[in-house]
Structure formats: C-alpha cells, structure tokens
Symmetry: C2
Subunit: 332 residues, 2 copies
Amino acid sequence: MANIKQIAKMASVSPATVSRVLNNHPYVSDAKRKAVLDAVECLNYSKNLNAIHLSKGKTNIVGVILPFINHAYFSKLLEGISSEALNANYQLMLCQTNYDPNEELKALDMLKMKQVDAIIVCSKILQWEQIEPYSKFGPLVACEDAGKPTISSVYLDHYSSFRMGMQYLIDRGHTRIGICLGRANSVNSLKRIRAYKDTLKAIQEPLREEWIFYQCLNIEDGVGVVHKILEMNERPTALMVTSDQVAAGIIIEAGKKRIEIPHDLAIIGFDNQPIAKMFDLTTIDNQLFTMGSLAFQIAHDQIMKKTQAPENRELEFRLIERSTVSRYRLRN
Amino acid sequence: MANIKQIAKMASVSPATVSRVLNNHPYVSDAKRKAVLDAVECLNYSKNLNAIHLSKGKTNIVGVILPFINHAYFSKLLEGISSEALNANYQLMLCQTNYDPNEELKALDMLKMKQVDAIIVCSKILQWEQIEPYSKFGPLVACEDAGKPTISSVYLDHYSSFRMGMQYLIDRGHTRIGICLGRANSVNSLKRIRAYKDTLKAIQEPLREEWIFYQCLNIEDGVGVVHKILEMNERPTALMVTSDQVAAGIIIEAGKKRIEIPHDLAIIGFDNQPIAKMFDLTTIDNQLFTMGSLAFQIAHDQIMKKTQAPENRELEFRLIERSTVSRYRLRN
DNA sequence: ATGAAAGCGCTAACAA
DNA sequence: TTGTTAGCGCTTTCAT
C-alpha cells in the first residue's frame, strides 16, 4: 500500500503538502494540489487510519457497552445511537458484555487505551463507583440514572413512571397488582420495586412477594408468568410488565389459557415497541430511540469540548392508552 | 498519559524490555519483569492501541456492514458474529448503512484504511462487482450467496428452501399460494421469486402478481398484507412469509379480521425466531446465529492465514412443523 | 505557499 | 537476556 511519502515523491512535493491536500487545508497552490491528487489517483492511495489516530490522539469512534445485542430494548437504543453516529460521521465499536464484569472492564479499557473517544453505557453490571474512574480518560455517558453527577447520563424517572402506571391501574379499580421485572438488581428494577412497594403502602395493600416476577426479558418469559399465575390461589388482576415483548408473551399465553385480557388480567407494558401496537397493548413509552441519540449527542459534545461539565438529561415518559387495561372501573 | 518510554526509565530498562513484558515474551528476567510491572502499576500505565495497531498493521477489529440494527433478522445474525468475536478476543465495528450505497462504500473503505482486519457483509445494496475489489485489502465475508467464488460466504440455498416450503404446502392440498418478501431486488428475494415461479409452473398454476407482497420487513407490515388479501376477489389459501415477524403480524391481524389460521389461510414463516414459537408458527429455520458465527470464524481464519482461498459454506435449512399449516389435506 | 523535521507510542530486527 | 534503533504513516510546528 502506498503511503504519503510515495505520493509526495511522485507529485514532487513534501509529505506536509500531501497532508494538507488530503485534509483540505488552505494555502496550497492549485498546481500542487492537482499534482497530489493525480498521484493519489495513480497509486490508488488510501490513508492509514491507525497512523492518523495515533498522530491526532483521536479516533472518531465511540464505544457502546451493552449486555446483549439481540434484544428489542437494546436494539432500539442502539438504533438511536447509531443514527446520530452516522450523522456525526462517527463509528461505533460494539462491546457485548453478557453482563460479565471482566468484559465490561475490558470495554472500559478501550477508553484508556485511546481506541475510542467516548463510551456509552447502555446497561452494566459493575457498580458506578468502579466505572466512574474511567471518566478521567474521556467522556462516559450512561443510559440510566447513574446517580452520580460526575457522570453524564440520559435517563427516565423510572420511579415516577412506575407509580404513574400503577396509579392508572388503581384509578380503574385495581388493587391486586403484580409486576414483571428484568434483572433483580438493576438500577431500574430497584427503583421500580421501590415504587411498587410505596404504591402498595399508599393504598394499604399487602406486599405479595410471589407477585413480583423476575427475569422477564424475552417474549417466551411471558409464558412462565402466566403459568405461575394460574397456579396461584390468589391472583393479581393487573400486571405491570417492564417489557413489551414479555407483555406480548403473556397476552399470547393468556389467550391459550382462556384468561381474558383485560377482563381477567389487565396489562401495562413498557417501551412502546412495534409489537405493543400490534397487540393494542397499553404501554409506557420510555423513548429508547431518543435516549440513544441523546446519549450520542452528549458524548459527541463532550468530545468536541462544547460542554465541559457532565450533562444529565431526564426524558419524559408517557402512557399510551390502548386496550389491555379496561377503561371501566372494576366492580368490587 | 504515561508511555512506554517513561515506564522504561522508571524501571531502568529499555523500551524493548517493557514491550516484552507487556506482551508476555520470553527471555525477560524476573527482576526486570517485576520492575516493569511495578512501574506500570505506579504510573497507571495503559497501552496506546493506536500505536500498536499502526506498528503491527493489524487491529483485531472486524467491521460488520448491515442496513439496520433494530431488526430481528440482523440482530440474530449479529449475535452470532458477536459471540464468536468475544471468543476470539476481537472487537466489532458496526456500520449501519440504511442501504445507502455511499455509506456502504465508506464502510468498505475501513478495510482499505486498515481500520479493520476484515469485513462481514450482512446485507448490501451495491453489486458484488463493486464490492469484490475490496477483497484485495483483506478478508471479506458475505452472509448471502455472493455468487462469486472469489468472495467468502456463508449462505443458505434460498431457492431450494423456498421450493421445499412450497412443496410442503402443495402436499397438503394448497395450490393458491402467495408470498411475502422483503426488498424486491435483494439476492435472496430474486432467488425466492424464481423458486416461486418455477413451482407454480410445475403445478401448472398461473402467476398472480398481486399475490407477491413486497416490502414485508416488520411485524406491522403483516397488517397491510391481510388488508390487501381481504380486498381480493381471489384469495390465496396459503402464504410463504420470509420473516417470522411479518408472519406474526399477519396472524394477529388475521385474528382481528376473523380469518382463521390455518383453515382460511396457512402460513409458513422464515427465521425461526422466538416469536415463531410463541405463535406456534410453522417456519423454516435458516440458522442465522450459526451463519453469523461461521462468518466470523471464516473471517478470523483468513486473517490468521489458516485458510488462503475464499471459503464458501452452505448451511442446511429445515422446516419446523407447527400449527399454522394444517396437517390434513385440503378438500378440493 | 512550501518544506524540514520532530513527534505520536509501540514493535521487532539486529546486535551485543 | 537486554538494549539500540529503525521503522509504522501521518500531523503539525516552525522556518523560510
């Protein structure tokens, strides 16, 4: 592969001039510019990005840390990130961690090793305390409430959104409400559990631990939820399901088991994915695409030093009323 | 940030020795090794990957070209690629093209500019003739039948799989069969159209252009298909749907419109996604995960020069019999 | 407007 | 076993 020196020689100019032409710098005579361009053409020259990255100390790459790729939540988030990256002419380095702490650490190291200009954390298993030190090496943006003002973040108030959803159910006569969560210890789950408990207390309902379903991540997980409910003596009349996929799974399985929705079981989903619309599922839109694109924008701004201080953006949620919660009040 | 020279100075050794320690080379005395490691610790040193990449002329990164991220087909494929990458300690550079030829070209340039060691093309809009020249700069692996023995590929025989699916329907009494495709001009669609036409000819059925539904990519697209069918005087009794998501959409909408499946409309999906299982959808498994992991393996092998010649692997498909095609023969 | 030359930080061939 | 040194290919400052 040709390099800048060979171009210089062929065009009878210095490497510096070649560099200037290649980077559209001013102060190059048209004659020399043409000579360089011709040589580039002739030798089928291409820049070596590694050399550029080294020399500039910058890569135009942003790292994205996420546990799984094949999951609607992360796909939508990633789509938001990607669309902005495309916009800003940035590349994306994908780091799938499977929630393995070592993989997460390895991914963070990319920032330290200057392989990426910034990192976006979609979800993590490490404590923020372990992650925070890396912000010394470059912008770090979280797609959840990091709870640290020193780390930039884009997030939703999952406590409030959960309470709002529950209140919506309560207003329609529900008191026996169950919930489906993802990982038990994720930042979001913990907030939702708190919201759940606080709401129950407010309406003076007892907490039934068995009505909290964990590890509900994929559409298939909805099946298990329905089966468990069927085995219960005391069944919830409504479910807050923190994933539209899982909610869809519940609806499908409920249909097979002759549980009528919303009559026997009301359901509120989360994410407002396409599947929610298909099932006419009442859901809470948490703006994943926007979250992703904003996360990238913040990372990009920080790289460009437009903003110095960490930025923390809270997104609005909104409940989308559809048909999986009856609009009529339950008879008592 | 500290560099190798400073480590060398602090440990009173040469940069070369530091490099040796850092890369676990033999022939370093324990004393020096320890001194280096201490200095590394003390200065909180980290390698600069850009320097390493430049020096080695290799990056341990593979580029992945795909049109969309938020799409079940590509998510599953990407998951396969990613799992192998994790395995091989390789990073993934994601290049979303939106089927924009310029973006595709830019992504291919990464190979030329030595930013990636190889490229995996999940789907493309350019002609293979335009892509092929890039293989001069490094391994190029296609996740479809490139039709060029000079390009490595992992693919399914979509012609045969389509014919097999149609034969399955024919054996059960169907002759009025429609099909749902994605992009009209994709490599896979063209083969499927050919299979469709050949099969119709074989059973002496006329070709009805209106029974070929294009642009069926997402679950919502199933709605339109059902509506169009409802407006037809002559309706198909069965549908080959080249995406389980779309098939699911059709099933849902058909339910709303009181079209009974499989009685009024039999359906065969493609991909064998989780959603297919949920809907008990008869589908053709085309091994996306395997395709992805194999694509990475081939790319990796080529990088490591284990294999020189392009490798072309054909994957087996298999039909998964579930309930959206009746097992009983239709009465005539 | 142009060129010389000193980095950027690491690797590896060669010498010792 | 260790050090010296010449790359890797580009950018950028400083002269001119």
